[in-house]
């Protein structure tokens, strides 16, 4: 029995085919039939990501070891060993989860990973140490419960995030969940989103003032608005964190919900056509918006919008109806020890009277498979299928009848998930950093563990103003830990002291979590990692001592100024000599002498593979399958596959000029003939026309010849494609120059 056979009836046919194709691509890569760059972007778009040391090198504290993986020199991408453990990113649109999905995630974490489910800062799950050859079965098991990993990485539309309180929030204009879900499945695999130079992150928020969806830091974001009884969104575009953070620009003060999806589609087309493709550091849409100016960008999107053929999905918003398991009730009865403190920080009273949402605090986003299964049980016992992950790396159980809160607290404690402190200074957000990320410089998780441990021991003694602060950290300047938005943020860097590297964290103050990530913090100085706990203590103590009534840390920081803020930490920036204190020369939780030697090439940006290259890659796969069919004596099948491979390549070329090219073969051949009469080598084009005009001949000799011709046709398509790309680059340069 295989998972493919066992789950055949439970996986949607299109998804099953996609996973089968991916499995074939894995086989083809092993045979050297797919280029490593194309395979890398292919797996990234399936959510299979690289991980630290996958270049088969690791600094062990004394020297860099070559990791001798058995399948060497086979690679799964440039400089990426085939056998090296990788990460699987699993998209959870708007963070919505059922109990059954949680159970299957738990099983896959055990069987293919290390028994840990990691919740990310984009409401995804990540599994680490996964072997590439396990990924198709992992995907099948998730697909059987409605989860896809498609486009979780790579130059694609990433997980659509939304406020985890959507639908139960006391201040939202309306529940954004149906719109987040509609956008997710509309853009997933959409032809207009396959040709980006970089990733594209959407987010939704139900209200303006809270943090909610952090719309201001997203490529595309909507804040719910109701005007004259009509639903719509205040639409933003071109925000983003990264090394240089940009606040999103207002695209429309009010976009009726009916225009949301077509506008997103038009934006995708403009981004695909004009976005940077060569320089990955400048390829996010924020740079395009900045370069064009928001008004010109809006004009171009408006023009594009007019050309879109109508799509019935534009106004098909799914009904996302959550049903509470039990009737509303009031909190009453016995309160277990620790309950009241937990109630204060981890429970949100819903707008629906008698119901509450519980935030299950997951330390740095990690839960075990066993805990995940128990959480599924608790959902079934208290809430129904009503859970969401959050960008603060926690899990929310919604629609809990209030009288059940003490029992739920007791049950959570029993599985080690009853800790108080959600949304407080204890609830530290950290990206994977040097634990698993190829780009990590310093150990963000190591520091988070240490800070959490120190703060937990004195949490009860902290001033209320300090308890409410947020700490966020990233292992490098790329902001996966969203450090710019924290009251106190950190990102990892390195300094050289007497020829030795010392892990440091840059300290940022003044970020604003509320107002959808309303402002970004500014760096005040880089401090050795081992002194960061003292930095937190010093800043918070001074804040408590000198703050005026109700003054926020942001206001306090603005009042005392940057120079004075830096003075607070200046002495902590000094690194003692190695001979005096060698502990400064290694990172938290890692006894190796610190090194920058393990940093690899990030895959965040993916390889820039054009949509045409994907189409031609698919054509080559079909042609290979034709060869296999021929070898097996299935000549009719071989003939069809070879023919299809030519059509696939031709369609790819036509699509370069006509985004709405239909799927029927007569149109494809007609358009190909009309458009590429001079650009495509005529002798090779004739192979397609000849097969189009004649009946199939299913003999060994005829199909063998057709397969050869199809391969040559695909070669011709590559050549023609190169010319097209040159033309497009020239057109793009001309538009941007204007």
């Amino acid at each position: 029995m295989t998972w493919k056979a066992k789950l055949a009836s439970q996986i949607p046919a299109d998804l099953a085919t996609e996973i089968d194709v991916f499995e074939t691509q894995i086989d083809l890569r092993k045979l050297g039939k797919i280029d490593e760059k194309l395979f890398a972007e292919t797996r990234l778009r399936r959510g299979a990501y690289g991980q630290r040391y996958d270049n088969a090198q690791r600094f062990d504290g004394f020297q860099t070891q070559q990791l001798k993986f058995p399948s060497a020199p086979l690679t799964k991408g440039p400089d990426t060993a085939w056998d090296a453990p990788g990460m699987m990113r699993i998209k959870i649109p708007f963070g919505g989860l059922t109990a059954r999905q949680l159970e299957v995630l738990a099983d896959t974490a055990e069987e293919y990973s290390d028994g840990i489910l990691h919740i990310t800062t984009r409401q995804d799950f990540q599994l680490h140490f996964v072997h590439i050859e396990d990924t198709p079965n992992l995907m099948r098991r998730l697909a059987a419960v409605g989860i896809t990993t498609r486009e979780a990485c790579g130059n694609s539309v990433r997980n659509v995030t939304a406020c985890p309180l959507s639908g139960i929030c006391r201040t939202e204009a309306f529940d954004v969940t149906p719109y987040a879900k509609a956008l997710t499945y509309f853009l997933l695999g959409h032809p207009d989103t396959q040709d980006f130079g970089r990733k594209f992150k959407p987010a939704f928020s139900g209200c303006e003032d809270e943090a909610c969806g952090l719309v201001n830091m997203h490529d595309f974001g909507g804040i719910a608005q109701v005007r004259n009884g009509q639903r719509g969104f205040k639409l933003y575009v071109g925000g983003g964190l990264g090394a240089v953070p940009y606040q999103a620009k207002l695209f429309a003060d009010f976009m009726p919900v009916e225009e949301l999806l077509p506008t997103a589609q038009a934006i995708a087309r403009v981004f695909a056509r004009l976005g940077e493709k060569q320089n990955r550091a400048r390829a996010r849409i924020k740079f395009l918006v900045d370069k064009l100016g928001i008004e010109e960008f809006k004009r171009l999107v408006g023009e594009e919008r007019k050309t879109l053929p109508p799509d019935p999905r534009w106004t098909q918003f799914p009904v996302v109806e959550e049903k509470p398991l039990k009737p509303a009730s009031a909190l009453n009865g016995h309160r277990p020890e620790g309950f009241d403190a937990w109630l204060t920080t981890n429970v949100y009273r819903q707008r629906q009277a008698g119901f509450a949402t519980v935030t299950v605090y997951c330390p740095i986003g990690d839960i075990t498979s066993t805990q995940a299964r128990h959480l599924g049980d608790l959902m079934r016992r208290y809430s129904g299928d009503n859970a969401r992950t959050s960008v603060e790396q926690n899990l929310l159980i919604r629609w809990v009848s209030e009288s059940d809160l003490p029992a739920l607290f007791t049950d959570l404690k029993a599985i080690g998930l009853g800790e108080q402190g959600a949304g407080t200074i204890l609830d530290i957000t950290a990206c994977p950093g040097t634990d698993t990320c190829k780009l990590g410089i310093a150990s963000s998780r190591g520091l988070a563990r240490e800070l959490r441990s120190q703060l937990a021991s004195k949490f009860f003694t902290l001033d209320e103003a300090v308890k409410g602060l947020r700490i966020k950290m990233s292992g490098c300047f790329n902001s996966c830990g969203q450090h710019h938005l924290a009251d106190i943020g950190f990102y990892g860097n390195s300094r050289t002291i007497n020829n030795r590297k010392v892990p440091h964290f840059q300290v940022l103050l003044g970020g604003r979590w509320r107002n959808n990530g309303g402002s970004y913090g500014l760096a005040i100085g880089s401090v050795p990692s081992k002194n960061i706990p003292q930095v937190v203590a010093r800043i918070t103590e001074r804040f408590v001592k000198e703050r005026t009534a109700a003054e926020s840390l942001q206001d306090f920081y603005a009042r005392i100024g940057k120079a004075e803020s830096r003075k607070m930490i200046e002495d902590l920036m000094i690194v003692p000599a190695y001979e005096k204190d060698p502990s400064f020369y290694s990172d938290w939780g890692d006894p190796r002498e610190f090194s920058m030697g393990d940093i690899g090439m990030g895959e965040c940006a993916g390889e820039v593979i054009s949509a045409l290259q994907f189409e031609l890659g698919a054509a080559e796969r079909m042609n290979f399958e034709a060869q296999l069919a021929h070898e097996a004596g299935a000549f009719a099948k071989a003939d069809q596959l070879a023919y299809d491979s030519m059509l696939q390549a031709a369609r790819g070329l036509v699509h370069e000029q006509w985004l709405d090219v239909p799927a029927d073969l007569a149109t494809i051949v007609k358009e190909f003939k009309a458009r590429f009469a001079t650009l495509f080598q005529p002798a090779l084009a004739a192979y397609l026309f000849r097969r189009f005009e004649s009946a199939p001949v299913a003999t060994a000799e005829a199909t063998h010849r057709l397969i050869e011709e199809a391969q040559l046709f695909i070669e011709g398509a590559h050549t023609c494609g190169d010319k097209l790309q040159q033309q497009k680059a020239a057109e793009r340069a001309a538009i941007l120059k204007k």
Binding site: M1, T2, W3, K6, R52, Y53, R58, D60, G61, F62, Q65, L67, K68, F69, P70, D83, A84, P85, E103, A106, D107, E110, E111, D114, G115, I116, H128, F129, H131, P363, I364, D366, I367, T368, T370, Q371, R373, I415, G416, L417, D435, T436, R445, G446, R449, R452, G589, D590, P591, R592
Partner: protein, 156 residues
Amino acid sequence: MDNSTYKFGVKLFITNPGAKPLKDFIPVFHGWIQRQGVPGHLLIDVHDYSHVHHGPGILLVSHEANLSIDETEGRRGLVYLRKQPADLAGTIAAAQAVAKKLTEEQGVQFDTPHYEVSVNDRLANVTAAQVAAATGGNVALKSGDPRERQTFVVKR
């Protein structure tokens, strides 16, 4: 269980868990990587899950298996979880070799006659008799949550 191989796991329980704090295994495992000190295994990295309740504790990742000073169910033990399929006898031998190394180098003591065998593949259907054939002694299916991995308790 036919002649094919499975991804088995073995948990050997530590009898002196107080003798060594969990995090002290981090430098031990890093040292093993420096020497590539577990024969037949390509040691890759160490991962700290000490913040997770009853979790994998401190994890040593290798190509062939995940090894951890594991805290599941609140019982500290060495877990050897095979990633590349192997037969059960080979998996147990590999786990015991690692335990022996921890005893000799770090003074970690194990309850050697009693251990657990898990089947890290929910498609596999293994019986107690089949496990007993590889381990000897008394073997019983561990009761508990049926969603957990199939696990057998071995008493020799």
